[in-house]
Each structure stands twice: as C-alpha cells, then as structure tokens.
Amino acid sequence: MNSRIRRHLDSIFRGFEDTQRLRDFKEELATNLAEKVADLQASGLDEDTAFREAIATLGDIRAAYAQGEEESRPGSVPRASKVRKTSFDPLEGVSFDPFNKEKDKDEEEERSRLAWGVFLSGLAVYLYLGFNNIAGGFGSWWMLALFFYGVYVLLRGGFGCGTVLILVAVLFHVGSKRSLLLFLAIVGVAMVITSLVKKGRRT
C-alpha cells in the first residue's frame, strides 16, 4: 500500500521541481494517507475502496503546495498557480502504461480526454486540408510534423488508441471522406469541451 500511495503522490506532483521541500511534503502526506487507509480498513472497507476514499479527501493539494512554495521565497510575489508549465503539453499526466491497473485515473482521465480531444480535432483539420490540397496538402513539412505528433500522441495515449485507429480505418474505407471528418471533428471537440467544463467546475 505504501508504494501505491507514493506512486499516486508522484503522479500528482509530476511537473514540479524535485526539491527537498517537495520530498518532505510528499513524505508527510504519505504518512497521513497510510494512516487514513489503515483507519478506513479497520472500519470495514476493503483495501482498494479505502485507498480511493483516502485520496478523495486530499482536495487540490497541488495548489496548497504551490501556495506554500511562493510564501517560502522571501520577496516573491504570489501567483495564482505555479502548477502549469510554460509550454503547452496536452500529454502531461498521460502515461504509456496500458496494463497498470493501479493507475490513478481521477486526474489522468480528464487530462487524457483533453489530449485525445486536441488530437482528434487536429487530425480532422489535417485531413480536411490534405483532401482539399490546401496549404501544400499532405506533402508539406508542417503536415508531416503534425502527422508525427499525432502518432506520438497515439503511442503515449496507451490503452484505447487501437480502438480509435480501427474506427478511423473503417470509416476511411467504408464511409465517405466527409463522414470521417465529421466523426473526428465532433468527437474531438466534444472531448475538449467536456474536459474544459469539468475543469471549470472543479476550480
């Protein structure tokens, strides 16, 4: 259980600078969570339920840590959040580990949905421009870059990418080009919107 808790905390604080302060904070939280899981198990819950219930009471612990990090620096001006990286990375938090049953899905599912949404919408635009030979068509360098980025997203997406690839292939051969584009665009945009709406509700 301790290693499971540590893995969960590592995934929560992914993207933060690995400082002594962060290591101490994670150790402190790990001790708390282990004790909470033990208490919940003693009250009759099974290990998995106890773990899920314990981590559910963490709340937005990243923001609490980031707040303390700002305050611990003399003369620093507090900012809303230190969590975000400067570069846009829709894959943040999406790990290539399709068989890890202990993957902590609560946060990752949401980010994964955004990554897929961005990718599918992008793919729809890419195919549209290619089919109509706009801006150089499939052969232009930026189209190739977009294509390889798409492949990279699929590989990092892990479980589920096979299904999407099959669907794309089937629609491509059986359906018309228009139905394929429509499918990708609708699914992609829907995923981005639901991801953003969920995020908005949480904050």
Binding site: N32, A64, G68
Partner: protein, 100 residues
C-alpha cells in the same frame, strides 16, 4: 463559512497539543461529531499561511518504526493571535445571534 475560520480552528487545536496533519483532520472530524471533514488541501493551505506568519512551527517526530510524522507546534505569537481570534468570534457570534 467554516473554511473562513480554519486558521483559528487549527490554532485552537494546536494550543492544546502538538499535532501532525492527519491527527488535526481526525480531531476536527470527531470534535464536530462527524459533521465536518477537512480536506488535506485546505489544512495544508492553512498550515502554510500560519507558518509564513510565524504563528506555528513544525518538526519531524522521532517515530521508532514506520514513516516519520511532521508535527506542528503553536508559537507565542500564535497563542496571542488565537486569543484575539477567539475574542473576535465571541463578539461576532453574540451580535449575529441578536440580529439573525
């Protein structure tokens, strides 16, 4: 509404004894007769604020076995701040009870 008084609640608990994070959450849960459960994020945001204002300090416990616990201790300034918070709360409660 309760969250607005978390700092005073934490200071109140620490004025009786040094405590570690989960112990604070557990005590709040049991003292509120299971009516209020504090999330770790809220607790740690409060602890960081109180530490930044030198109202509390922290130290690692020396547990013989298992993981280490980090304990929080109230400072003299913390006790003064708590007394003031308590007096303010008593006054506000009295006035609000008369008006609502």
């Amino acid at each position: 509404m309760i969250r607005g008084h978390i700092d005073a609640i934490v200071l109140g608990l620490l004025s009786r004894d040094d405590m570690y994070g989960y112990q604070i959450c557990k005590t709040i849960y049991s003292k509120s007769h299971q009516l209020y459960e504090l999330k770790e994020a809220t607790l740690y945001a409060s602890l960081r604020r109180l530490e930044a204002q030198d109202l509390i300090t922290s130290y690692w416990g020396d547990e013989d076995q298992g993981s280490r616990r980090k304990y929080y201790r109230i400072t003299r300034e913390g006790r003064e701040a708590y007394d003031k918070c308590k007096a303010d709360w008593e006054f506000a409660k009295k006035v609000i009870d008369m008006l609502i």
